[in-house]
Subunit: 133 residues, 2 copies
């Protein structure tokens, strides 16, 4: 789903949108883990069998980046984003396995003026979840 790029005034509190889905592959999980989260249960299929999830799982940092990219690819922030100041209450609630399909739902929670001149803040709730295969 593509969305026309939005600026501050275009966001309305309570509005929601959903992204396109992406399939998560074993190769991507292992490639990401080797650089950014080299825990055995993200990196090594054999070792992961004895790990906390009993099988290989994606790094939560990877699903965070995938989810953001899904949102970005709707074009909603394309050209209008000035970068993010941070994240609050990030929770990884379910393990993500090779072959899972993820998509992201976004809800606009809050809009406020920034302390920086010419910048405005919008706070969104994003929920990245497994969709039906």
């Amino acid at each position: 789903m593509k969305i026309k790029p939005k600026y501050f005034d275009d966001f309305h509190i309570g509005e929601t949108f959903e992204t396109e889905p992406n399939l998560i592959s074993k190769d991507e999980i292992i490639d990401f883990a080797s650089k950014y989260d080299p825990q055995a249960f993200h990196l090594d299929e054999e070792a992961a069998k004895n790990g906390p999830f009993g099988q290989l799982t994606s790094s939560g940092f990877m699903t965070l980046g995938k989810s953001f990219t899904q949102i970005f690819n709707t074009d909603v922030f394309n050209g209008s984003s000035m970068g993010a100041w941070g994240l609050d209450e990030l929770r990884w609630t379910k393990p993500v396995y090779p072959g899972d399909t993820l998509k992201t739902k976004v809800e606009v929670l809050e809009k406020k003026l920034s302390s920086k001149p010419n910048q405005r803040d919008r706070k969104v709730k994003t929920n990245c979840f497994k969709s039906k295969r």
Copy 2:
């Protein structure tokens, strides 16, 4: 700096440690952005000149993964981690440019029993900062 892997009882509130530094390269910034954060100011050196930072900057998701990997590479959680439930109050306070060197300081803030059997939680504050070149 290597640390002997620690379990719940080995962490003490208030203890701190620092990681080894890593140099952040332009190639890594662009490669990461192409997959996990394709905003122009992380992905395209020319376009970034007209962006909010005036030059190419690293994705904050990349520095998050780098910082975690720095911590992991101390061995402190090696074999003892059962995965993370989330992150609170993540703040990206300064842009990270190609050629910057980052390292991470960790402080143990809190220890508590988990609601899950056989699991225990420790909450740490991590601060990833630019070190002198």
